[in-house]
Symmetry: C2
Subunit: 348 residues, 2 copies
Amino acid sequence: MVTLRDVARAAGVSLATASRALSDAPHVSAANREQVVRTAEALGYRPSHAARALTTGSTGTIGLVLPDLENPFFAAVAKGVQGRARETGREVLVADTDEDGDLERDLVDRLLDRVDGLVLCSPRMPPPALERVVADGRVALVNREAPGAPSVSFDTADGVRQALAHLRALGHDAVAYAGGPAASWSDALRRSAFTAGGAAEVEATEVLDLGAFRPVHAGGVQAADLALAAGASAVLCFNDLVALGVLARLHARGVRVPDDVSVVGFDDVAAATLVTPPLTTVAVPLARAGRQAVDLLDVTGGRAAGQAPERRCLPTHLVVRSSSGPAPAPAASSPAVRLSPDPEVVIP
Amino acid sequence: MVTLRDVARAAGVSLATASRALSDAPHVSAANREQVVRTAEALGYRPSHAARALTTGSTGTIGLVLPDLENPFFAAVAKGVQGRARETGREVLVADTDEDGDLERDLVDRLLDRVDGLVLCSPRMPPPALERVVADGRVALVNREAPGAPSVSFDTADGVRQALAHLRALGHDAVAYAGGPAASWSDALRRSAFTAGGAAEVEATEVLDLGAFRPVHAGGVQAADLALAAGASAVLCFNDLVALGVLARLHARGVRVPDDVSVVGFDDVAAATLVTPPLTTVAVPLARAGRQAVDLLDVTGGRAAGQAPERRCLPTHLVVRSSSGPAPAPAASSPAVRLSPDPEVVIP
DNA sequence: GAACCGACTGGAACCGGTTCCAACGCGTTC
DNA sequence: GAACGCGTTGGAACCGGTTCCAGTCGGTTC
């Protein structure tokens, strides 16, 4: 391995000059600079990151901790973090917590000694643990907020409002909410927007809380039956995976979407456009959030002690596709009544 | 920041002894060891990774370079790499190339200075560039092979064989292949297995090569029409995304699946179970491949110079769901004939 | 022509660990 | 009682860079 010392010797200058030449520092003659650069090139010199990190104290690396790399929601955030980090010349150390809050804490601790800053996405750890973690001062949150930490979150309440207004405009006056896990920070926001915020703009709409479901396909299957039993003409779902489950179950039971029941999801993951009918859903700028979180880390470094960290809130917007449509005519008292279950269709 | 020197001073021992005590090295008395460990704990000592990397030459980090974090195929591999790395006490530096072969080369080079070994998944770079890259000796490949490099790939040919045998058993005697990009290494394998390998076991089956498509939903939409025009009663697809596109287009044109046409995908991504009907597909052990690639990196370190690197090939298996069924009765000459296109349905 | 100023240069200290090597203490053995 | 050997210990070199500081040199200014 060729070191800076080798380059300096070969170029006929001192170690100090060689270092300055290669790091574009002042106080080097143009001739020497070029000479050093050329020799470094010729010798195939590659600076040692470890040595540089040791003296400068900066690693050129940012950490990313998220619950599940295979979940398209988090994958999109990761892509954003990754892209922005590369643009700014840094690498990303990524850790997947498997949705485990305890493991999450460990990983954050471990990563923090190896990185300049850390993006923590949708943390599962309880608030006290989270507050201790962000006290480090080098952590930016995505999709959650904590006192004293910079964060990027989404205007969920407005997304819910848009979805309800859309459904209201289509004549739906009984809308059900298929919620996510009780411990979910996002679900708390969506649910309260649904029950409270929705009422203001969409007064005439009756809102039905179906309860909490696992944020996966099977949860949606379960929610669909409850929605039908409750007589809802539209279902708003915690996320797209749940919405896809609702869609599948409605199809299996012979309920037409959107003719009999409308379904609206949340997040706008790729799969939302792949199903039949394509899913109406609230799009969330996930990659942008990842990118901005990286930028917040940089700001954080330069922030004065007393200054409050920045909290950003990104807008959401409804994407209307084909899973939502006009409410069925009120003549047929309740849509659930005229259903013809098809027991032969198997739900995977 | 508290350094090892601080710990040594506080514990009343030398720097050397403190280092040995904390790294479980021999030549330290039990009393001293415990004393050092205790003071380190009390002072909240955290070893500096940079310093350790500088002296030992090992970073405790492995790199992962892949074309697209948001693609569920690669996300699954990433999850496996990530999990195995954690089990063996290492971190993962991940880089997303956005499917760009040139960027890929740069990123591999950059990462190689910062990691102990690197997993390169489905590389897009041309063979000569790839051979130069693997010449480093610290690179393990996933889903591609190169002379001199350890690799983990999949028994694609057997997967194709299984799919064809399945379709043959269902009475299909005209099967079409909706292939992937011409530059794709996997597609080359699948295509040749389809045209050559298939024939051996499934002699009576006519195989129709539909050509190459972009490995996305839209590519499948395009392929579906060609398959119908060709009179195929079954379509085998390059990957699940293409298969989902085929499914959507067939639905839009009023073709029933599997009654009129059977569809088989490849990879078994999560979305395969979410659509209607659930997709029959060839499952590929992606996470396992990621895990094994990490293990191959370790083996590589200890391998003798002359010894050939290990190439592993993981088995694939067909998952039969509802998108494949018996071939339609031959009475209706060709399935394409009795189709009733439904121009109102919009393809997203 | 001497004092001065600025740009450039290189020796050396330093970052925080690991590890070689010499020294040391103590119990055994001849 | 002296030589020996083993386990333990600490001083110091080292990993590969960055940066402080003192010194050198050329050109200005009075």
